[in-house]
Amino acid sequence: MQERSCVAEEGAVRLYPARLEEVGQLSEHVRALCEAAAVPPEAMIDIELALAEAANNIIIHGYRGRSDGMIGVDVQIVPGSVSLELRDQGEAVPEGLFSRCRTISADAESGRGVGIIQSCIDQIDYRSEGGTNRLRLTKRLSR
């Protein structure tokens, strides 16, 4: 049952269809790797929250309803940090999106995703080259 929607692997990168109902499977993959590496539960929660928001943004804003899009995920766990790289071929995000501060009204029903990523993740690196967008989310682990 687990990993059923991973349709391909390119090296360490797993590919998932860019659909909202697949984000849970992508998340399960990352969670399994983190659990195997004994990543603390508090850090795992933040990684999972950021991952969900990042994947949702790629699906909703990057691919804009295209049904043939894919999301690649590469997880690197080293002593002291977990790093996820999400790759997609959708529209690139507006420049500076991940470094901008934003204020969201309490009664807003959307628009909190990037703020959640910023709060959960220690370092966010984004680049778009040759039609591929790469979002790297690094969470430092206190041991």
């Binding site: 969900a52 009664d107 807003a108 029903e109």
Partner: protein, 112 residues
């Protein structure tokens, strides 16, 4: 069915069934609320005991529920798990929603 809605006197109990309450589930949840809550009960207990993970789209659906109930309505949330509590704290919506440990505690909150 993402949410099961039952009445206990004047309080509606909304039990979210999904263990992962996210952007894939939120539209069905909002549809369930539109059928069971909109224009009806004004006191609601939302039971998130089963929910291990929630994203900001599902959180947006809860904001929509709060607005649906209006100024005279009352909402309390029961059973938020650690990842769900963390989402409320990060977004500072723990100051907007009333969080209780259990359904009876939440029911007491909405009954005032």
């Amino acid at each position: 069915m993402t949410a099961i809605i039952t009445m206990d006197g004047d309080v509606a109990l909304v039990e979210v069934q999904a263990t992962r309450f996210d952007a894939a589930e939120a539209p069905a949840f909002k549809a369930d609320l539109a059928k069971g809550i909109d224009g009806g009960p004004r006191k609601v207990v939302l039971d998130l005991t089963r929910v291990a993970f929630m994203d900001s789209t599902a959180l947006g659906a809860l904001v929509s529920l709060l607005k649906m109930l209006g100024k005279d309505g009352s909402l309390a949330i029961a059973g938020a798990q650690p990842a769900v509590r963390r989402l409320f704290e990060l977004t500072r919506l723990d100051a907007v929603f009333r969080l209780a440990e259990t359904v009876p505690d939440a029911r007491a909150l909405v009954r005032g």
